[in-house]
Amino acid sequence: MTNDFKVIDEQYEAGRRALGSYVTGFVLSVILTIIPYFIVVRHMFEEQSLIWAAVLFAVTQLFVQVVFFLHLSKKSKPLWNMIVFAFTIFVVSFLVIGSLWIMYNLNYNMTDTSPANTNEGYIPK
């Protein structure tokens, strides 16, 4: 009987911890959304640093949501969750950074720019 109560207590305790995790995640996410929004809308820095700031806030928010909403952490039960996640991060950054790098060089190595299809370059100034 006492065992049953202990189980219920543990359930309740786990529930409380999960609630805490969702609330923390939510509050942090709102902050991490509002700050870059106002930095950008008010043009608080020069362009290049604005871009880096926005990207930094987004990546921070990615990790906040992965930890507090998806509950992925070092303690994650199947370690495979973590391994698959790390591998995906690796491939995604490879794909995005690689594409940008290649296309940047492609644009600047072009000698012929026909007027009908002017490639204005994609890199933000």
């Binding site: 491939v91 794909l95 940008l100």
Partner: protein, 206 residues
């Protein structure tokens, strides 16, 4: 007496353990799907990043988007991610059917509100002659944001099915598992939106 209860408990625990095991396998399989979906979005993001300044004489991101509108969309989706967390919390830890249903319904309505705002934005762009045919930038924009919108639509259809199932069958191991997988999907869509918000709208507005 005590041994009897214990053996009884053991026996009643065993099938639960097994089904919990298969639930966690399902969750892991779904996690792999989510990660492959992340790769799909990464390719579309890369395409957008490459095309974003190729406006072909048309309007650029800075001229097209209303920032307060986009911030509202973002916050709505963020709140819906949180309310889904609450639904999943009540399903996993408190076993209370009504609260799960209520939070799922709130999440569903927020999702509908988000989609409605996105549809409004798309219609407005389209009517002003800025459809995906206008420029490379707009093709990239509609592909990226539209793919996310399609995912949200799929999530909402799934969620309405889940609401009916929880309502009919209550909180069972099966429905808890489904709340878990849909939760992964929904939180993932919120994360993808954060990047759309940052790369398309914020950086576009700089």
């Amino acid at each position: 007496m005590t041994t009897e209860t214990l053996t009884h408990q053991k026996e009643s625990l065993r099938p639960r353990r097994e089904s919990a095991d298969s639930e966690s396998k399902a969750l892991f399989g779904f996690w792999i799907y989510i990660m492959s979906d992340a790769l799909l979005f990464a390719s579309i993001f890369a395409t957008y990043a490459v095309l974003q300044n190729n406006t072909f004489g048309g309007p650029s991101a800075r001229e097209l988007f209303s920032m307060p509108f986009v911030l509202t969309e973002t916050l709505i989706l963020l709140v819906s991610s949180f309310t889904f967390g609450l639904a999943s919390l009540y399903a996993h830890h408190h076993n209370s059917k009504n609260k799960v249903l209520a939070w799922l319904l709130v999440t569903f309505l927020l999702g509908v509100a988000f989609l409605a705002m996105e549809a409004t934005e798309f219609t407005k762009l389209f009517q002003e002659g800025n459809s995906w045919q206008r420029s490379g930038f707009l093709s990239g924009f509609f592909t990226l944001v539209g793919t996310h919108g399609l995912h949200v639509t799929a999530g909402l259809i799934w969620m309405s099915g889940l609401i009916v199932q929880v309502w009919r069958r209550g909180i069972t191991t099966t429905t808890i598992g489904k709340v878990g997988t849909l939760g992964l999907f929904w939180h993932f869509l919120d994360i993808v939106w954060i990047f759309i918000f940052t790369f398309v709208y914020l950086i576009g507005a700089i």
